[in-house]
Amino acid sequence: MDDFLAARLQMAFSLGFHIIFACIGMVMPFFMSVAHFYWLKTKNVVYRDVTKAWSRGVAIFFATGAVSGTVLSFELGLLWPKFMEHAGPIFGMPFSLEGTAFFIEAIALGFYLYGWDKINAWFHWATGVVVGISGLLSGILVVAANSWMNSPSGFDYINGEYLNIDPIKAMFNDAWFSQALHMCIAAFVSTGFAVAGVHALMILRGRNVQFHHKAFKIAAIFGTVAACLQPLSGDISAKDIAKRQPEKLAAMEAHFHTERNAPLIIGGIPDTANSRVDYAIKIPGLLSFMATGDFNGEVKGLDQVPKEDRPPVAITHYAFQIMVGLGMAMVLISVLYFIALWKKKSWMESKWLMKLFVIAIPMGFIALEAGWTVTEVGRQPWIIRGIMRTADAVTPMPGIAYSFYLFTAVYISLSIIVSLLLYRQITMVGKLYDSTAKDSEL
């Protein structure tokens, strides 16, 4: 494998791995805090059990998230030294603030996990909330760094030099808001659906039903509300990139020719050589409307971009379809769930709704990975859009392929162990956590 490809793949794998743990670390503390709140208010032990069970899971995810994040902060230099040499001082501001957020998160988590019955009950609860808020903040901050790569600002690029650096301006670049918003909601969607689905599965199996019902409801409400907000935020993102990165929008939509009243293309097989899409469903005017708010607006196509600056169309297009498709599927499930909550209480008892949630377990995370693929691959061939090419940023060290194999092996083994651990946590709920169950230890 050639070193440049290996470096890109290693970066992608490491981030793709980290993001899962990061999202769970951002969102689970909120679920826990809600359950914990009900426990302190109602003194219903089931809520305490749910909180404790979840906090175990969080500890596992948090540790994995922390080590994979540590690896990333080195990998940026190990794989992309030329990039970091110039970008570090410019987009470093969010990273230095993020350090603080991580630190607070780690400290608060120490209080939270080890503080049961040791510190004041409400102070203990508050530390859980702090874990969540600082996690969310760190997420927003890293995304600000990433969005700077999409929309570089806060410096003047003159004759290959980076002058007049303004780190604050770089942090609040044009892409920052839409990306951070979309990311935060995505974290809630993916974690909410995954957690709700797992508890739904246990309800279907008839195990510790009271426990799982309470857990399910908390996760499902977070997940479904977020799922309904996601398309709105996605729309903001789409309008945003129509302005800031038209070539990315064109690649997402496999939109080869600049035109007015541009159709929205669903599915299909992009044929880059001949600049057309085969077997696609086309909805006239909709792309123009989504990008500009006007059915007759002009949408730039790939023909406006020099050949060597075009992002890979097929990957970006498929990834975008996957994200939106799954997003819509989750909106549908959410609507059914709301109907069940308010109008048709009987649906709650029926199996099919729970089954839908079980099917949806991986959907959010797949959409999340797909969305990042859209953003990152759609930025290619640039690492800093319009300023530095990815190929120019890669490390001169040969043999990166081996490092790629090594890290891939590590990440695969970690995923297996984490899944095993999680499986055990879930199947042991009856024994370890559910104090209302007959076989309880507590």
């Binding site: 596992i60 540590t70 993020e98 490092s403 590590v410 162990i417």
Partner: protein, 333 residues
Amino acid sequence: MIYVVIVFLWTSILLYILLGGADFGAGIIELLTSKTNKPKTRKTMYKAIGPIWEANHMWLIIAIVILFVGFPKIYTTISVYLHIPLVCMLLGIIARGTAFVFRNYDAVKDDMQKIYTPIFVYSSLITPFFLGIIAASSVSGQIDPQASDFLSAYVFSWLNWFSVAVGIFTVSICGFLATIFIIGQTDNDGDRQHFVGKAKRTIFIVMFCGALVFIAAHVEQIPIVDWIFGDTPGLIAIIAASISLIFMWYALNKDQPISLRLLAGFQVTMILFAATYTHFPDIVLLKGGANLSLLTHQGQAKTIASLGYALLIGSIFILPALGYLIYIFQQKR
């Protein structure tokens, strides 16, 4: 502002060695403990370190962030030429962090423990070893930006007797810190005696490994003697550290865990001080003498200023909270 940033960089490295080091040491000690004493060591250690282990490792991240934001040239030079030991260290960090949590949080305690535990103890050994190698290599003058072949650019930049000796020395320091730390965590006399005995033995090991560093430096013709003894503050630091060993011996016999910890912290601080002072502001020495200096290779003024403010503001939040965390869990052991 640049000095604020440098102080933060130095302090985070120091705290990583002290807190993270004690943490790595816990695994190393477990490796060197006889089978019968293993459960005892492990339990005492877990109680002591559990709540703060995550925070201990944040210091490394802070140091890295300071480097890449404030001193990008230094960060990238290290990343390029010390790629291999960095990857080894990262693998150690991954293995250790995850194994620590897995073995304490697995819902079922079964044969999987037999997998987690060796991973944990061996990675506790590997990580500080490579950390030492990286630190030593950055000052050993073997990094050669002009090198044209793979071996001299990416391997001999770090593979030499001096770096290896410093790696071993770092491991011994971690073990030393952990034994000193654990003395204060024991809750009965028998255990305490056991760990005091261990601490005395580790002191000799550390001195032995320190001697190895000097020998290796001599072999590699690295003028470490000149660096440390040729310069008054460095010399004073080393003498102070040696004198404090005498107090330490006394404190070990008298069972004063708090002064023990302070003394151990003092010694390590002095060693780091002596090792860095002579070179300041250079922190990466290259072959041919084109050194990278914290002062000449700093980022632009605005970057350094905002980094400095971010660190200052951050520490207002972090330090009290961290102090309180440690306080609470020391109180209610």
